[in-house]
């Protein structure tokens, strides 16, 4: 049973444990399916720092070469750098080798389009169909290409960031930053970027060796070393990345995590102060986004959970900023991708612009308390739960876009089935912690009552 669960093939890619389920045979086949899906042409391949990355890379090269594609090896680089490079050069797509925030024994393939976007549901379905049908393109020897190297992904990404942010302004603020890259792909990009912005940088965990000194997910409990370092170095801010540098957590000068949802809140404030326009985020992200947007007369559009959904809506609505509450900030002027370094730039320039400390800026933003919980529940019991929740709790508003979300003037509750596990996720947010906790408790009680 354990073995079955450690391999996940879904629309977000193929993910598994190296030495167990994520075998080179499986990886080669998946790369062959992707090469078949895209047809001949250059396909960029980048990876995070995981020690299994080299083996996974070779398996991917074999599958792509056999299908007649030209793999372009970007080496170790952040996922956003891969996405930006894919859109910038003439490519037919890209593969990111990273299990993102999963622990070190995991790895994964994530599939990216020629536009540098993760495959959407329809595209991913087609890829999976090809994989399952197992009839991959195999070109004759004369059409087999070679692996080409390209070292421009990170420099190109940084250049683009530096064009977007005001490095002189940030530099004049002489901000001191402690950076924790989790020895991940961010190690090769973030220190350089922050120094180019004129920051004084204290680096911890920036050796890109794939030996994660902490769980790579940048949640408060995983950031104790960074939190202490921020206080000890009297820094203005602390930044934590996950292994592939798409997500960002921010630590205030007192060593407190501001909460991953507030990473996006700060970025939203920064962008909207410069350019008014629509904001897109998912249903579970903090209401602070709505408050910020409202104060600047901008609309907020909520989508289903998942980066692809957010990005799709951003493009459609012409959003000026977007992202998700897990620390994934999307600045479309840079690229439609979650980019921890874009998030860093936004926070730093906001501080420089306002000539204020991070806590002072956060004071301007309404504070909500968020309580998150997940409970085991078989998928067939989810919709009875949602129906009775809807009946029981008299809400001022609701939406069923993704599970059930109920609104009150002071609070909201979002209950939905997870995309990846047989659990329901409960997120309550309110002006008071007590109210948020009460909403979660009520939901849990209902689940207990509904149990057979």
């Amino acid at each position: 049973m354990n073995k079955v669960r450690s391999l996940k093939i879904s629309i977000s890619g193929v993910r598994g444990i190296v030495g167990d389920t994520l075998t080179p045979q499986l990886l080669t086949a998946f790369a062959g399916a992707f090469g078949t899906y895209l047809g001949p042409g250059p396909i960029l391949v980048g990876r995070d720092t995981r020690q299994s990355g080299e083996m996974v890379g070779n398996a991917v090269f074999a599958g792509l070469l056999a299908a007649g594609c030209e793999p372009v090896d970007l080496g170790i680089c952040p996922v956003p750098s891969i996405q930006i490079r894919a859109a910038e050069v003439r490519s037919s797509g890209a593969i990111a080798i990273t299990a993102s925030h999963n622990p070190a024994q995991w790895n994964a393939l994530k599939f990216i389009s020629a536009e540098g976007l993760f495959l959407n549901g329809y595209q991913a379905d087609e890829l999976l169909d090809i994989y399952h049908q197992r009839s991959f393109t195999l070109v004759p020897s004369s059409e087999i290409r070679n692996v080409r190297r390209d070292a421009r992904a990170i420099p190109g990404h940084i250049q683009r960031l530096l064009r977007y942010f005001d490095a002189d302004l940030i530099g004049r603020a002489r901000l001191k930053v402690v950076l924790d890259s989790c020895n991940g792909a961010g190690s090769l990009a973030a220190p350089q970027f922050l120094r180019a912005l004129g920051c004084r940088v204290v680096e911890i965990h920036t050796t890109p060796n794939g030996i994660f000194p902490r769980d790579p997910e940048p949640t408060p409990e995983n950031l104790t070393v960074l939190r202490k370092a921020v206080v000890q170095h009297r820094a203005d801010v602390g930044f934590a990345q996950d292994a592939d540098a798409d997500r960002l957590a921010v630590i205030d000068p007192l060593g407190n995590p501001i909460g991953e949802d507030y990473t996006l809140a700060l970025a939203t404030l920064f962008v909207l102060e410069k350019h008014r326009g629509p904001v897109v985020t998912n249903l579970s992200t903090t209401r602070a986004i709505d408050d910020i947007a409202e104060s600047l007369s901008c609309p907020v559009i909520r989508t289903k959970i998942g980066e692809a959904n957010v990005v799709e809506e951003m493009i459609h609505a012409g959003a000026v900023v977007g992202g998700e509450g897990n620390g994934g900030v999307i600045l479309p002027e840079i690229h439609y991708c979650r980019d921890s370094m874009g998030g860093m730039g936004a926070v730093l320039q906001l501080m420089a612009d306002h000539r204020k400390s991070l806590p002072q800026i956060l004071e301007q933003i309404p504070r909500y308390f968020m309580v998150k919980q997940k409970v085991d529940l078989p998928p067939d019991r989810v919709s009875p739960l949602l129906e009775s929740l809807e009946r029981r709790l008299a809400a001022a508003g609701k939406t069923k876009l993704d599970g059930l979300k109920l609104f009150w003037p002071d609070a909201c509750l979002h209950v939905r089935a997870s995309n990846t596990e047989p659990v329901v996720r409960i997120v309550a947010e309110a002006k008071s912690r007590r109210r948020a906790q009460a909403l979660v408790r009520e939901t849990l009680d209902l689940i207990a009552q509904l149990a057979p």
């Binding site: 080179p24 083996m55 070469l65 020897s141």
Partner: protein, 454 residues
């Protein structure tokens, strides 16, 4: 007919058809499991498909925990030397040797740089069929590291064993044709270190073979005409992975590849003890070399793996095949165009004989080789027909059917590398050779048409 062949020490197939990346990863995993995750060497020839095969082999080996000394583009003998000199557990050479460009293969090499013998190969196949491969966890996967100076180290090794002073003094002018294979650049570099002046043909290892990568008379025409026009002392032509070679004599006379082994044997037997190991399909010329030195000739099955194993088992002075592959066991455990070229140059330098003169020391035989396509179900009836037909002559049945007469011999066998039946005939008289050969072709055609012995 599926163009995938699994033989002693290798798996060979057509890229784009049967030699899929998944199959290659599986075989690399089987080999990595066979060596228990120990360190290995990998190199590849210049074929267009080699990068794909190479990536698949690395992924499979790494997943088994095998750290890889990656030689990149390298002739098979260099991979074998790296294994032996670095005391590695084995390795894989990615090359379909003399097969044409659409083929590729994994050649499995064991300890000491020797191709796997039949028992070891069987074990690899058993692991492959079981499908239970080593799976090392993420933190003990194999690492890949390059090794740049391996060719210089190999040249040093060989130069320390050759009479370099004599060869340099002779100042040979040599035309080299590496057929755009893995030997490109390296064969000329080796010859230059021996003080030769080298005219390089097809010396860009881009895998665009200008002629089939087999050093036989037909494929050496280009080299032969250059030898003639530049008045070179000789020409050297190697196959795609530079384990075998052929010679062009002075004046542009391309010698049959059958001459390589007897010339080397004749010279080495002057100074080396032990019998000679040949194969059932090799010219009798080597027998006259052995007879001159009163040595026994022992017959091994065809294939480097069999020949080298037998050479070591019999403590032979030299072993080889009529295809231009020669093993000199006091130096190497493999067929090698580099040492073979070096020995022949040393022989010429010391004796003052030209290549043509060396060739003329052997009795003149007429040798005809051919091959006819034959699917696996047709091959047995063909061989059976020959066995019956020559029953009276007590044929040797070790590998196909070999029939001996005082003035001639005939060998019919299934190819190890392709879906073919191979016929080889040698006789003192040209007409006799031609008759035997034509009769054999007719015989095969009759069996394949379902008419048997008529």
């Amino acid at each position: 007919m599926r163009p995938l062949k699994i033989g002693i020490s290798w798996v060979r197939g057509v890229v784009g058809e049967t030699l899929t990346p998944e199959l290659l990863v599986d075989f690399a995993c089987a080999f990595g499991t066979f060596v228990d995750g120990a360190s290995v060497a990998v190199g590849h020839d210049s074929r267009r498909s080699s990068p794909m095969v190479h990536a698949a082999a690395l992924a499979g080996l790494q997943s088994c925990g095998c750290s890889v000394v990656d030689l990149g583009l390298a002739p098979t003998p260099l991979v074998q030397f790296a294994i032996r000199s670095s005391r590695l557990a084995g390795g894989i050479s990615i090359t379909a040797s003399h097969n044409d460009a659409k083929w590729n293969a994994l050649k499995f090499i064991g300890k000491e740089g020797m191709l796997l013998n039949s028992y070891q190969s069987q074990e690899v196949m058993d692991i492959y069929h079981l499908g239970e491969f080593r799976k090392n966890p993420w933190n003990s996967l194999g690492k890949v590291q390059g090794m740049a100076d391996m060719s210089e180290r190999y040249f040093d090794y060989l130069l320390a064993r050759l009479d370099v002073a004599s060869i340099r003094k002779a100042r040979f002018k040599i035309v080299s044709d590496c057929c755009a294979g893995a030997g490109a650049g390296l064969i000329p570099a080796f010859l230059e270190r021996l003080g030769c002046k080298v005219i390089r043909l097809n010396d860009e290892p881009d895998g665009e073979f200008p002629h089939p990568p087999e050093p036989n008379v037909r494929n050496m025409k280009g080299a032969a005409s250059v030898v003639k026009s530049v008045e070179a002392d000789l020409g050297i032509s190697v196959n795609a992975d530079a384990d075998r070679l052929g010679f062009v004599a002075e004046g542009g006379n391309a010698l049959s590849e059958e001459y390589v082994f007897p010339i080397v044997a004749d010279y080495l037997l002057d100074s080396t003890r032990g019998p000679v190991v040949s194969t059932l399909s090799t010219s009798r010329m080597v027998e006259s070399a052995a007879a001159r030195h009163r040595r026994k000739v022992i017959y091994a099955r065809i294939g480097e793996g069999y020949v080298v194993e037998r050479v070591l088992g019999e403590k032979a002075a030299v072993g080889g095949e009529g295809s231009g592959g020669v093993v000199v066991p006091k130096w190497n455990r493999w067929f090698d165009a580099f040492s073979t070229a070096g020995i022949v140059l040393q022989c010429m330098a010391r004796t003052g004989a030209t290549l043509g003169e060396l060739a003329h020391r052997f009795p003149r035989y007429y040798l005809l080789k051919g091959a006819l396509p034959s699917s696996s179900e047709r091959t047995y009836p063909v061989l059976e027909a020959f066995r019956k037909r020559y029953h009276e002559n007590s044929p040797n049945l070790e590998d196909g059917v070999r029939v001996d007469w005082p003035d001639a011999w005939l060998h019919v066998r299934a190819s190890n590398t392709e879906p073919l039946v191979r016929i080889i005939v040698e006789a003192e008289a040209e007409t006799r050779a031609r008759d035997l050969y034509d009769q054999s072709i007719d015989q095969i055609a009759r069996v394949q048409a379902g008419r048997g012995n008529e």
